[in-house]
Protein backbone atom coordinates (compact mmCIF):
# COMPACT_ATOMS: atom_id res chain seq x y z
CA UNK A 1 0.00 0.00 0.00
CA UNK A 2 1.30 3.47 -0.88
CA UNK A 3 2.34 5.74 1.99
CA UNK A 4 0.40 8.96 2.19
CA UNK A 5 2.14 11.92 3.77
CA UNK A 6 0.38 14.69 5.65
CA UNK A 7 1.10 17.16 2.87
CA UNK A 8 -0.37 14.74 0.35
CA UNK A 9 -3.51 14.48 2.46
CA UNK A 10 -3.69 18.27 2.72
CA UNK A 11 -3.32 18.52 -1.02
CA UNK A 12 -6.02 15.87 -1.53
CA UNK A 13 -8.37 17.80 0.74
CA UNK A 14 -7.63 21.05 -1.03
CA UNK A 15 -8.20 19.42 -4.39
CA UNK A 16 -11.50 17.99 -3.19
CA UNK A 17 -12.52 21.45 -2.00
CA UNK A 18 -11.58 22.91 -5.35
CA UNK A 19 -13.59 20.25 -7.15
CA UNK A 20 -16.70 21.06 -5.19
CA UNK A 21 -16.89 24.04 -7.52
CA UNK A 22 -16.98 21.72 -10.52
CA UNK A 23 -20.46 20.53 -9.53
CA UNK A 24 -23.43 22.82 -9.76
CA UNK A 25 -24.86 21.27 -6.59
CA UNK A 26 -23.06 21.89 -3.28
CA UNK A 27 -22.45 19.15 -0.73
CA UNK A 28 -25.38 20.01 1.54
CA UNK A 29 -27.85 20.11 -1.32
CA UNK A 30 -26.41 16.83 -2.60
CA UNK A 31 -26.84 15.17 0.80
CA UNK A 32 -30.50 16.21 0.94
CA UNK A 33 -31.16 15.01 -2.58
CA UNK A 34 -29.28 11.77 -1.93
CA UNK A 35 -31.25 11.02 1.25
CA UNK A 36 -34.47 11.37 -0.70
CA UNK A 37 -33.48 9.38 -3.77
CA UNK A 38 -30.73 6.87 -2.95
CA UNK A 39 -32.95 4.09 -1.63
CA UNK A 40 -35.38 3.90 -4.57
CA UNK A 41 -32.56 4.25 -7.08
CA UNK A 42 -30.56 1.54 -5.32
CA UNK A 43 -33.64 -0.72 -5.20
CA UNK A 44 -34.16 -0.22 -8.94
CA UNK A 45 -30.49 -0.90 -9.74
CA UNK A 46 -30.43 -3.90 -7.45
CA UNK A 47 -33.52 -5.49 -8.96
CA UNK A 48 -32.49 -4.74 -12.54
CA UNK A 49 -28.89 -5.93 -12.15
CA UNK A 50 -29.73 -8.79 -9.77
CA UNK A 51 -26.59 -8.01 -7.75
CA UNK A 52 -26.43 -5.87 -4.60
CA UNK A 53 -22.71 -5.09 -4.82
CA UNK A 54 -22.99 -4.17 -8.45
CA UNK A 55 -25.93 -1.95 -7.48
CA UNK A 56 -23.64 -0.08 -5.06
CA UNK A 57 -21.17 0.61 -7.87
CA UNK A 58 -23.92 1.59 -10.29
CA UNK A 59 -25.39 3.92 -7.68
CA UNK A 60 -22.04 5.68 -7.29
CA UNK A 61 -21.73 5.96 -11.07
CA UNK A 62 -25.29 7.27 -11.42
CA UNK A 63 -24.73 10.07 -8.89
CA UNK A 64 -21.34 10.91 -10.37
CA UNK A 65 -22.87 11.29 -13.83
CA UNK A 66 -25.72 13.28 -12.35
CA UNK A 67 -23.29 15.69 -10.64
CA UNK A 68 -21.04 15.99 -13.68
CA UNK A 69 -23.97 16.75 -15.97
CA UNK A 70 -24.43 20.12 -14.21
CA UNK A 71 -27.95 20.40 -15.58
CA UNK A 72 -30.32 23.00 -14.14
CA UNK A 73 -33.59 21.34 -13.12
CA UNK A 74 -36.90 23.11 -12.90
CA UNK A 75 -38.21 20.94 -10.05
CA UNK A 76 -37.26 18.18 -7.68
CA UNK A 77 -39.37 15.70 -9.63
CA UNK A 78 -37.53 16.63 -12.80
CA UNK A 79 -34.21 16.14 -11.01
CA UNK A 80 -35.32 12.72 -9.73
CA UNK A 81 -36.49 11.65 -13.20
CA UNK A 82 -33.17 12.72 -14.65
CA UNK A 83 -31.36 10.57 -12.10
CA UNK A 84 -33.58 7.61 -12.97
CA UNK A 85 -32.84 8.15 -16.63
CA UNK A 86 -29.13 7.93 -15.88
CA UNK A 87 -29.72 4.78 -13.82
CA UNK A 88 -31.79 3.23 -16.64
CA UNK A 89 -29.00 3.97 -19.13
CA UNK A 90 -26.44 2.39 -16.81
CA UNK A 91 -28.55 -0.75 -16.61
CA UNK A 92 -28.88 -0.73 -20.40
CA UNK A 93 -25.10 -0.45 -20.77
CA UNK A 94 -24.67 -3.27 -18.28
CA UNK A 95 -26.89 -5.54 -20.35
CA UNK A 96 -24.83 -4.84 -23.46
CA UNK A 97 -21.63 -5.96 -21.73
CA UNK A 98 -20.69 -9.62 -22.10
CA UNK A 99 -21.60 -11.43 -18.90
CA UNK A 100 -18.77 -13.27 -17.17
CA UNK A 101 -21.32 -15.22 -15.17
CA UNK A 102 -25.12 -15.09 -15.35
CA UNK A 103 -26.83 -12.83 -12.84
CA UNK A 104 -28.48 -15.01 -10.21
CA UNK A 105 -32.22 -14.73 -10.37
CA UNK A 106 -32.74 -14.15 -6.67
CA UNK A 107 -29.60 -12.19 -5.87
CA UNK A 108 -31.22 -9.07 -4.58
CA UNK A 109 -28.54 -8.61 -1.97
CA UNK A 110 -30.88 -9.21 0.93
CA UNK A 111 -28.67 -10.17 3.87
CA UNK A 112 -29.45 -13.65 5.17
CA UNK A 113 -30.00 -12.35 8.69
CA UNK A 114 -33.09 -10.46 7.51
CA UNK A 115 -34.86 -13.75 6.93
CA UNK A 116 -36.04 -14.95 10.30
CA UNK A 117 -37.02 -18.62 9.94
CA UNK A 118 -39.31 -18.28 12.97
CA UNK A 119 -41.57 -15.89 11.17
CA UNK A 120 -43.93 -17.37 8.60
CA UNK A 121 -44.61 -13.91 7.17
CA UNK A 122 -40.95 -13.26 6.55
CA UNK A 123 -40.52 -16.70 4.99
CA UNK A 124 -43.54 -16.15 2.75
CA UNK A 125 -42.20 -12.76 1.81
CA UNK A 126 -38.85 -14.28 0.88
CA UNK A 127 -40.57 -16.90 -1.28
CA UNK A 128 -42.65 -14.23 -3.02
CA UNK A 129 -39.57 -12.13 -3.70
CA UNK A 130 -37.77 -15.15 -5.10
CA UNK A 131 -40.76 -15.87 -7.36
CA UNK A 132 -40.73 -12.25 -8.48
CA UNK A 133 -36.99 -12.34 -9.17
CA UNK A 134 -37.39 -15.49 -11.27
CA UNK A 135 -40.36 -14.07 -13.13
CA UNK A 136 -38.65 -10.75 -13.78
CA UNK A 137 -35.62 -12.60 -15.12
CA UNK A 138 -37.87 -14.13 -17.78
CA UNK A 139 -39.15 -10.77 -18.99
CA UNK A 140 -37.53 -8.58 -21.60
CA UNK A 141 -35.29 -5.87 -20.13
CA UNK A 142 -37.64 -3.13 -21.29
CA UNK A 143 -40.62 -4.89 -19.70
CA UNK A 144 -38.75 -5.08 -16.40
CA UNK A 145 -37.94 -1.37 -16.55
CA UNK A 146 -41.52 -0.45 -17.42
CA UNK A 147 -43.06 -2.51 -14.65
CA UNK A 148 -40.64 -1.40 -12.00
CA UNK A 149 -41.00 2.26 -12.80
CA UNK A 150 -44.79 2.04 -12.99
CA UNK A 151 -45.63 -0.15 -10.01
CA UNK A 152 -42.63 -0.05 -7.67
CA UNK A 153 -41.56 3.51 -8.31
CA UNK A 154 -45.04 4.88 -9.03
CA UNK A 155 -43.93 6.92 -12.04
CA UNK A 156 -46.50 8.37 -14.43
CA UNK A 157 -46.61 7.32 -18.09
CA UNK A 158 -44.94 10.59 -19.06
CA UNK A 159 -42.13 10.07 -16.56
CA UNK A 160 -41.63 6.47 -17.71
CA UNK A 161 -41.46 7.63 -21.32
CA UNK A 162 -38.86 10.26 -20.46
CA UNK A 163 -36.80 7.84 -18.41
CA UNK A 164 -36.78 5.05 -20.98
CA UNK A 165 -36.78 7.19 -24.11
CA UNK A 166 -40.14 5.92 -25.36
CA UNK A 167 -43.26 7.65 -26.65
CA UNK A 168 -45.80 8.45 -23.94
CA UNK A 169 -48.64 7.15 -26.11
CA UNK A 170 -47.05 3.71 -26.37
CA UNK A 171 -46.55 3.23 -22.62
CA UNK A 172 -50.11 2.11 -21.86
CA UNK A 173 -50.05 -0.81 -24.28
CA UNK A 174 -46.48 -1.82 -23.48
CA UNK A 175 -47.29 -1.75 -19.80
CA UNK A 176 -50.44 -3.79 -20.30
CA UNK A 177 -48.56 -6.52 -22.19
CA UNK A 178 -45.70 -6.61 -19.68
CA UNK A 179 -48.14 -6.71 -16.78
CA UNK A 180 -50.15 -9.53 -18.26
CA UNK A 181 -46.98 -11.51 -18.87
CA UNK A 182 -45.60 -10.98 -15.37
CA UNK A 183 -48.95 -11.78 -13.74
CA UNK A 184 -49.05 -15.06 -15.66
CA UNK A 185 -45.51 -15.92 -14.57
CA UNK A 186 -46.23 -15.03 -10.94
CA UNK A 187 -49.33 -17.20 -10.90
CA UNK A 188 -47.15 -20.02 -12.17
CA UNK A 189 -44.63 -19.43 -9.37
CA UNK A 190 -42.11 -17.79 -11.67
CA UNK A 191 -41.82 -20.86 -13.90
Amino acid sequence: MRDVTLSALDRLGADAAVNEDTFQMDEDAFRLFYERTARPVWAYLSRMSGDARLADDLLQEAYYRFLRANVAHESDAHRRNYLFRIAANLVKDLRRRPQVFPAPAGADGEPAEHADPQSADVANGAVRRLDLARSMARLKPRERDLLWLAYAQGSSHKEIAETLGLKTASIKLLLFRARRRLAGLLRGGGR
Binding site: E35, W42, Q60, Y63, G109, R129, L132, W148
Partner: protein, 179 residues
Protein backbone atom coordinates in the same frame (compact mmCIF):
# COMPACT_ATOMS: atom_id res chain seq x y z
CA UNK B 1 -66.27 2.66 -39.84
CA UNK B 2 -68.57 1.80 -36.94
CA UNK B 3 -67.10 -1.69 -36.78
CA UNK B 4 -63.64 -0.19 -36.52
CA UNK B 5 -64.75 2.08 -33.67
CA UNK B 6 -66.43 -0.81 -31.88
CA UNK B 7 -63.29 -2.91 -32.32
CA UNK B 8 -61.13 -0.11 -30.94
CA UNK B 9 -63.43 0.31 -27.94
CA UNK B 10 -63.43 -3.42 -27.25
CA UNK B 11 -59.65 -3.44 -27.42
CA UNK B 12 -59.46 -0.41 -25.12
CA UNK B 13 -61.76 -2.15 -22.64
CA UNK B 14 -59.61 -5.26 -22.66
CA UNK B 15 -56.43 -3.23 -22.09
CA UNK B 16 -57.55 -0.80 -19.41
CA UNK B 17 -60.09 -0.44 -16.63
CA UNK B 18 -61.32 2.86 -15.16
CA UNK B 19 -60.70 1.51 -11.65
CA UNK B 20 -57.00 0.83 -12.20
CA UNK B 21 -55.88 3.96 -10.38
CA UNK B 22 -58.06 3.07 -7.35
CA UNK B 23 -56.58 -0.42 -7.22
CA UNK B 24 -53.05 0.91 -7.59
CA UNK B 25 -53.62 3.46 -4.84
CA UNK B 26 -55.00 0.79 -2.48
CA UNK B 27 -51.92 -1.38 -3.04
CA UNK B 28 -49.46 1.51 -2.76
CA UNK B 29 -50.94 2.79 0.52
CA UNK B 30 -51.29 -0.66 2.08
CA UNK B 31 -55.10 -0.70 2.08
CA UNK B 32 -55.30 -3.83 -0.06
CA UNK B 33 -57.16 -6.18 0.56
CA UNK B 34 -58.50 -5.55 4.09
CA UNK B 35 -59.70 -1.98 3.76
CA UNK B 36 -61.30 -1.97 0.34
CA UNK B 37 -64.00 -4.64 0.19
CA UNK B 38 -65.75 -3.00 -2.74
CA UNK B 39 -62.55 -2.98 -4.82
CA UNK B 40 -61.91 -6.63 -3.96
CA UNK B 41 -65.32 -7.49 -5.41
CA UNK B 42 -64.50 -5.54 -8.56
CA UNK B 43 -61.10 -7.20 -8.97
CA UNK B 44 -62.70 -10.64 -8.73
CA UNK B 45 -64.58 -9.89 -11.95
CA UNK B 46 -62.01 -7.77 -13.82
CA UNK B 47 -59.07 -9.47 -15.52
CA UNK B 48 -57.18 -6.20 -16.05
CA UNK B 49 -57.36 -5.27 -12.36
CA UNK B 50 -56.60 -8.83 -11.25
CA UNK B 51 -53.30 -8.72 -13.19
CA UNK B 52 -52.64 -5.26 -11.83
CA UNK B 53 -53.07 -6.40 -8.21
CA UNK B 54 -50.85 -9.42 -8.74
CA UNK B 55 -48.03 -7.38 -10.27
CA UNK B 56 -48.33 -4.20 -8.22
CA UNK B 57 -48.36 -6.05 -4.90
CA UNK B 58 -45.32 -8.13 -5.79
CA UNK B 59 -43.32 -5.15 -7.02
CA UNK B 60 -44.43 -2.90 -4.18
CA UNK B 61 -43.42 -5.47 -1.54
CA UNK B 62 -40.15 -6.11 -3.33
CA UNK B 63 -39.32 -2.43 -3.38
CA UNK B 64 -40.20 -2.04 0.30
CA UNK B 65 -37.92 -4.95 1.11
CA UNK B 66 -35.03 -3.62 -0.97
CA UNK B 67 -35.43 -0.12 0.42
CA UNK B 68 -34.81 -1.41 3.94
CA UNK B 69 -31.15 -1.85 3.06
CA UNK B 70 -28.97 1.19 3.70
CA UNK B 71 -27.33 2.53 0.55
CA UNK B 72 -23.73 3.82 0.75
CA UNK B 73 -23.42 6.98 2.87
CA UNK B 74 -23.99 10.30 1.11
CA UNK B 75 -20.61 11.62 2.29
CA UNK B 76 -18.75 8.69 0.76
CA UNK B 77 -20.57 9.04 -2.56
CA UNK B 78 -19.86 12.79 -2.61
CA UNK B 79 -16.19 12.32 -1.69
CA UNK B 80 -15.67 9.65 -4.37
CA UNK B 81 -17.38 11.87 -6.93
CA UNK B 82 -15.07 14.82 -6.16
CA UNK B 83 -11.96 12.64 -6.30
CA UNK B 84 -13.08 11.18 -9.60
CA UNK B 85 -13.90 14.60 -10.99
CA UNK B 86 -10.33 15.63 -10.16
CA UNK B 87 -8.90 12.55 -11.88
CA UNK B 88 -11.05 13.17 -14.95
CA UNK B 89 -10.02 16.84 -15.04
CA UNK B 90 -6.34 15.83 -14.84
CA UNK B 91 -6.82 13.33 -17.66
CA UNK B 92 -8.52 15.96 -19.80
CA UNK B 93 -5.70 18.43 -19.08
CA UNK B 94 -2.97 15.97 -20.14
CA UNK B 95 -4.60 15.24 -23.49
CA UNK B 96 -3.15 18.38 -25.20
CA UNK B 97 0.31 17.52 -23.80
CA UNK B 98 0.12 14.10 -25.42
CA UNK B 99 -0.85 15.75 -28.69
CA UNK B 100 2.13 18.15 -28.45
CA UNK B 101 4.44 15.24 -27.68
CA UNK B 102 3.16 13.44 -30.75
CA UNK B 103 3.74 16.57 -32.87
CA UNK B 104 7.27 16.95 -31.46
CA UNK B 105 8.01 13.29 -32.21
CA UNK B 106 6.70 13.64 -35.74
CA UNK B 107 8.83 16.80 -36.24
CA UNK B 108 11.97 14.98 -35.09
CA UNK B 109 11.27 12.11 -37.46
CA UNK B 110 10.62 14.55 -40.30
CA UNK B 111 13.86 16.40 -39.62
CA UNK B 112 15.74 13.10 -39.46
CA UNK B 113 14.25 12.01 -42.77
CA UNK B 114 15.26 15.38 -44.26
CA UNK B 115 18.84 14.95 -43.09
CA UNK B 116 19.02 11.44 -44.56
CA UNK B 117 17.74 12.77 -47.88
CA UNK B 118 20.36 15.54 -47.91
CA UNK B 119 23.10 13.01 -47.08
CA UNK B 120 21.94 10.74 -49.91
CA UNK B 121 21.99 13.59 -52.41
CA UNK B 122 25.44 14.67 -51.28
CA UNK B 123 26.71 11.15 -52.12
CA UNK B 124 25.52 11.60 -55.70
CA UNK B 125 27.18 14.94 -55.64
CA UNK B 126 30.54 13.16 -54.87
CA UNK B 127 30.13 11.13 -58.11
CA UNK B 128 30.09 14.35 -60.06
CA UNK B 129 33.11 15.65 -58.21
CA UNK B 130 35.16 16.13 -61.39
CA UNK B 131 32.61 18.46 -62.87
CA UNK B 132 32.39 20.24 -59.60
CA UNK B 133 36.15 20.57 -59.34
CA UNK B 134 36.25 22.28 -62.75
CA UNK B 135 33.46 24.60 -61.71
CA UNK B 136 35.11 25.31 -58.44
CA UNK B 137 38.42 26.08 -60.06
CA UNK B 138 36.70 28.68 -62.17
CA UNK B 139 35.16 30.26 -59.09
CA UNK B 140 38.11 29.98 -56.77
CA UNK B 141 37.90 33.50 -55.47
CA UNK B 142 34.23 33.11 -54.45
CA UNK B 143 34.97 29.77 -52.83
CA UNK B 144 37.78 31.10 -50.73
CA UNK B 145 35.45 33.63 -49.21
CA UNK B 146 32.70 30.99 -48.64
CA UNK B 147 35.05 28.46 -47.08
CA UNK B 148 36.36 31.09 -44.68
CA UNK B 149 32.77 31.77 -43.61
CA UNK B 150 32.02 28.04 -43.25
CA UNK B 151 35.16 27.47 -41.21
CA UNK B 152 34.27 30.31 -38.93
CA UNK B 153 30.54 29.62 -38.44
CA UNK B 154 29.71 26.16 -39.91
CA UNK B 155 30.43 24.05 -36.87
CA UNK B 156 28.56 26.24 -34.38
CA UNK B 157 25.56 26.35 -36.73
CA UNK B 158 25.52 22.55 -37.07
CA UNK B 159 25.87 22.09 -33.31
CA UNK B 160 23.08 24.57 -32.67
CA UNK B 161 20.80 22.73 -35.10
CA UNK B 162 21.55 19.35 -33.51
CA UNK B 163 21.06 20.73 -30.00
CA UNK B 164 17.80 22.31 -31.06
CA UNK B 165 16.49 19.04 -32.46
CA UNK B 166 17.34 17.15 -29.28
CA UNK B 167 16.50 19.77 -26.68
CA UNK B 168 13.33 21.30 -28.10
CA UNK B 169 11.07 18.27 -27.42
CA UNK B 170 12.68 17.82 -23.98
CA UNK B 171 12.13 21.46 -23.08
CA UNK B 172 8.53 21.21 -24.27
CA UNK B 173 7.97 18.12 -22.16
CA UNK B 174 9.46 19.58 -18.96
CA UNK B 175 7.61 22.86 -19.41
CA UNK B 176 4.19 21.33 -19.86
CA UNK B 177 4.45 18.19 -17.71
CA UNK B 178 4.95 19.94 -14.37
CA UNK B 179 2.51 17.52 -12.64
Amino acid sequence: MNEQRLGARAFQASVECPRESDVLEAVAFGRWPDHCAELVTHVATCAVCADLVEVARALHDDRESLCRRDPPAAGIVWWRATIRARADAARTATQPISVLQAIAGASIMGAGAGLVTIAWRSMHWVDRLDEVAVTLASRRADLEAASTLATMHGLPILLALAAGLVLAPLALYFTLADD
